[in-house]
């Protein structure tokens, strides 16, 4: 600990003189404590706001949360309305987005970090990826609407789950690429040299020694990116998710190409209605969304820890 009380201060007071230094210990420790207090306030203001938010929607949402609420479809009557179609839509989006964005993002990250030559073209791509991470999500929504819902309508079926998931995948790709590169960058070059010096090819070295220790970092980046994607509303509205669909998309090709809703869309729709009852079930839907997110994060953390242990 850096803190100390005044009785410990000063060998000078004990009779050991030092002429050229003026330690001002008391003052320095005071600054220590002030800085510590400021950091404490910063931490706990964030925790406080979060606790406030959570307790707020828990209080509003718990009374109307029931099994029926989860497995029912939409309704004009708030007491009969449920979230099954948007819940299935969200899970669908989650799976497809991860399945598309993870391999492409990690692949690009590995290529850029380990294999690409350092020339103007690579740097041009790097700058573009960094910029893409900063593009507002509504722009991705419009891009998705044009490319996935219109141009590739023969594959996606128009404004469908697939079009929405591909849009979200596009949205989080830059984040996954950057996270992958940063994780790989943290692996010391001596490991690569060691592998190559044994007569391993680049891929053998990366595959066996560089990628495994980087996986926890890659997973963390991917989890954060996916969490963001699943909470996104704007791009899904642009692509054409709707708040009122009577049936959940089926688990089939046709289901992929069907119209869809998602929890954030449903929540947004309900809170923008005048009736108080809809606000309450919106809070219930928020609880469900939070549970989906926490489950996903927990799964990813388990996978990450498994890799960490194996090192």
């Amino acid at each position: 600990m850096t803190t100390t009380d005044s009785t410990q201060l000063g060998l000078a007071e004990q009779g050991l003189s030092s002429t050229n230094f003026e330690p001002k210990l008391e003052q320095r420790y005071r600054y220590d404590n002030i800085f510590k207090a400021l950091c404490w306030i910063a931490t706990f203001s964030a925790v406080f706001v979060l606790a406030f938010l959570v307790s707020d929607f828990l209080m509003d949402g718990i009374p109307t949360l029931s099994w029926d609420f989860i497995v029912s479809g939409p309704s004009r009557k708030p007491e009969q309305a449920g979230i099954w179609p948007p819940l299935v839509g969200t899970i669908y989006l989650l799976i497809i987005t991860a399945a598309v964005a993870f391999p492409i993002g990690v692949g690009s990250g590995i290529y850029l970090q380990e294999f690409s030559k350092d020339n103007w073209f690579t740097r041009f791509i790097e700058i573009n990826i960094s910029n893409l991470a900063a593009v507002p999500s509504i722009i991705y929504g419009l891009l998705g609407l044009f490319v996935f819902a219109r141009v590739f309508a023969f594959i996606t079926g128009g404004r469908s789950v697939l079009a929405g998931a591909l849009t979200l995948a596009l949205l989080i790709l830059p984040v996954i690429i950057v996270a992958t590169r940063e994780s790989l960058k943290a692996i010391p070059d001596s490991i690569r040299m060691g592998g190559m010096a044994l007569g391993a090819t680049k891929w053998q070295t990366v595959r066996a020694h560089v990628l495994p220790p980087a996986i926890p970092g890659i997973m963390t980046g991917t989890i954060l990116a996916l969490s963001r994607a699943i909470g996104e509303t704007a791009p899904l509205i642009a692509v054409g998710a709707v708040a009122f669909i009577p049936f959940a998309p089926a688990f089939s090709i046709e289901g992929l190409q069907s119209k869809f809703s998602a929890l954030p869309i449903q929540i947004f729709n309900w809170v923008s209605r005048p009736q108080e009852e809809f606000h309450a079930i919106a809070a219930s839907a928020i609880i469900v969304l939070m549970i989906v997110l926490l489950t996903m994060n927990a799964t990813a953390i388990i996978i990450r820890n498994k890799f960490q242990r194996n090192l």
């Binding site: 030559k117 040299m193 592998g195 044994l198 007569g199 391993a200 020694h209």
Partner: protein, 269 residues
Amino acid sequence: MQSQASPTAVGTQDVFKVENTGYYYGSNLAVRNVNLGIPGNKITSFIGPSGCGKSTVLRCFNRLNDLIPSAHIKGRITYHGVDIYAKEVDATELRRRIGMVFQKPNPFPKSIYENIAFGARINGYKGNIDELVEQSLRGAALWDEVKDKLKESGLSLSGGQQQRLCIARAIAIEPEVILMDEPCSALDPISTLRIEELMQELKEKYTIIIVTHNMQQASRVSDMTAFYNAEATDAGGKVGYLVEYDETTKIFQNPAQEATQEYVTGRFG
């Protein structure tokens, strides 16, 4: 590739020959005009002040410098008469024959067993890998210390043990030459002594080239010594060059060049 002469024979056949070789980063000359031969089953040490190019020359022997963009050599380095920088020579295949031990121990973040098995697997080793692991660890004088914990991470070992693990990893793929780039600079004196003793055993089977900052080490372990120095260029940079290359006893007791004399007696560097 079996053409090495008996280690005791006079005029042992050189394993490596470096002829008029210069080393460049882009258009900058880093090391100029090196000429030397590396005799088989001997320990050759490269000494000299920082920036004189001794590590650079060492890394030419297994073409590890290929990994640095813009770096290239002019001249010829031959391994048993084969130009290793020729187009037909595959650097990956070359590196299987020329092992390397680095300055800082760099075991893979894997088990002790896997550290050694990796090189064997990727190079298509046809024998029994369990036996190879034991034999390599014995060769590196590490077996007794780790035989009960082969599944533990290589990073759990002490620095000196890690470096011997790296030596075991290098000899597991049956190289002919082992390059050592200041292998003891991160180790304490006792670990250093163990590595030096190990080197004396290893030279029965392998040719060793060692870069060292420690002149006592060079005089203790090596048969041949090359002294490199660096001088300022007109452009403001530094260029390394080989000052003198001879038997170690001669370099340390009766060198031909004055600069060598000054360096080995500790008057500069």
